[in-house]
């Protein structure tokens, strides 16, 4: 597995994708174009998911190049700190976009401007700016042609220095996560609570679509999804924090990466559900009604992938050190 290559492949998405998303969002404003707005609200969570994978791959990329002459550890740390800060705002933007999408569903006319959309606008702008900084600091590591001598000095301009103050030091974050075994136990505990909530809420929706307990109308169990997303959010946060605490351990583990792949596939599956007519075909089904084949396929895939995620997560411990460094 070539982590440097993977990182270079993925990093385009959170940087450029967010610009595209924000662009579409802004363009949708004057004409109140619902389609463009919806597209941007779909792009943000997608980029948020990929941003996490990008962040994870960075650790492996660091491992691949840090012994090269001319590569500065300090620059890598600066880039990683910038990435951590940008990721926080990216994830919040993604979450707010999902909230805005949820609020807008089922409305016949375009949703009028509301607080969720204001929040998405604000956070997406900050995210785009921070991501630009991540890109620049990343480029500074290995592109001598763009470094104009500024990189080594303490950051020159006022804004840069101010942002710098908010960027965490990766080493300190790792230390914080691993100092107390009770904190680690708490994070793992919450990870299981999140999974129970997630499987419960998503599971019952999937099972209903597959024909279980047909007395329940599908649209009603669909209303449980925000709780599933709460479970997912808990697990995303505890998962990312755990990764930052033990990044080498997770990076060189096949089970961990396959788990991430399964999560990306789940994102695709969710997109398929809402962007094809699968959701609309089940939305108004009443008690006793059967879901169409596409919806059943999506539901079965969802259940399978979530159990795959649990399995792979459980086997992380067993698969430690299974990825050999490609050099």
């Amino acid at each position: 597995m070539n982590f440097a290559h993977l990182h270079l492949l993925l990093n385009h998405f959170p940087i450029i994708g967010t610009i595209v998303g924000l662009g579409l969002f802004l363009v949708s404003l004057p004409g109140k174009n619902e389609d463009l707005r919806r597209a941007s609200l779909i792009i943000f969570p997608t980029m948020a998911l990929i941003a996490i994978m990008t962040f994870f791959s960075g650790v492996g990329a660091q491992g691949a190049i840090k012994k090269d002459p001319g590569v500065s550890e300090a620059l890598i740390e600066r880039h990683q700190g910038a990435a951590m800060l940008a990721m926080v705002f990216m994830e919040i933007t993604g979450a707010l976009s999902l909230v805005a999408l949820w609020k807008a569903q089922g409305k016949a006319r375009p949703a009028s401007w509301n607080r969720s959309l204001s929040a998405v606008l604000l956070f997406s702008v900050v995210t785009v700016l921070l991501m630009a900084r991540v890109g620049t600091t990343g480029g500074d590591i290995r592109h001598p042609e763009i470094v104009s001598g500024q990189a080594e000095r303490a950051d020159a301009t006022g804004i840069s220095r101010m942002v710098r103050a908010f960027e965490p030091s990766p080493g300190r974050v790792a230390e914080l996560m691993t100092t107390s075994k009770w904190w680690w136990a708490f994070m793992m505990d919450m990870h299981f609570v999140g999974l129970a909530l997630l499987i419960g809420a998503v599971g019952i929706l999937d099972l209903r679509m597959l024909g279980f307990a047909k007395q329940i109308p599908i649209s009603s169990v669909h209303r449980l999804l925000p709780w599933a997303m709460l479970g997912f959010a808990i697990n995303l946060i505890t998962g990312v924090l755990a990764f930052t605490g033990m990044d080498q351990y997770y990076t060189y583990d096949w089970a961990f990466w396959l788990k991430m792949l399964a999560i990306l596939l789940l994102g695709l599956n969710a997109a398929a559900f809402y962007l094809t007519d699968a959701f609309h075909s089940v939305e108004n089904l009443g008690p006793g009604d059967d879901a169409p084949p596409l919806a059943k396929f999506i539901a079965a895939t969802s259940l399978f992938l979530w159990f795959a995620v649990i399995t792979l997560g459980r086997y992380i411990q067993s698969f430690a050190d299974t990825i050999t460094v490609h050099k």
Partner: protein, 168 residues
Amino acid sequence: MGPPVFLQAIEDTGFSTWLRESESPFAFYFILLFHTFGLALLVGANAVVDLRLLGVAQAIPIAPLKRLFKIMWIGFTMNALTGVLLVLAYPTKTLTNWDFYAKLTIIGFAVWVMQKLKNQVFEDASLTDVDRMARGASLAKWSLVLWFAAITAGRLLAYTYKYLTYPS
């Protein structure tokens, strides 16, 4: 005075040793995996019922949720069986750990609440949803608290044990 010798006797059996030391992916981690599946089914299904009784997603009719109890029992059975195997794999680690007994006690209460909830809320087919929520809200709240505590107690087992295997 160390741990009771019978713990070492269990650990020395071929089965226990295999579970602990085998490199096969079907040994310890496989059992632990199904323990997690069981948890997901049991607590997941129970959480959905509890949340509904507490007023979440009121569009869902309560009566059909009775079907979920079957899923909860499948999860519970899975966990009871895998739980026994896990104890057989690490008897000293588990049975000398106070947290393990706390976990079993909490689970005992949680299952008792689960049964009580089923009887009070789901047995009478003539009740309205409003009636069911009134009868079940308090039990639902306790159910959530107890399962959260059970997961916590279980998760902390990895951090509270005194002996991994019988001290030699």
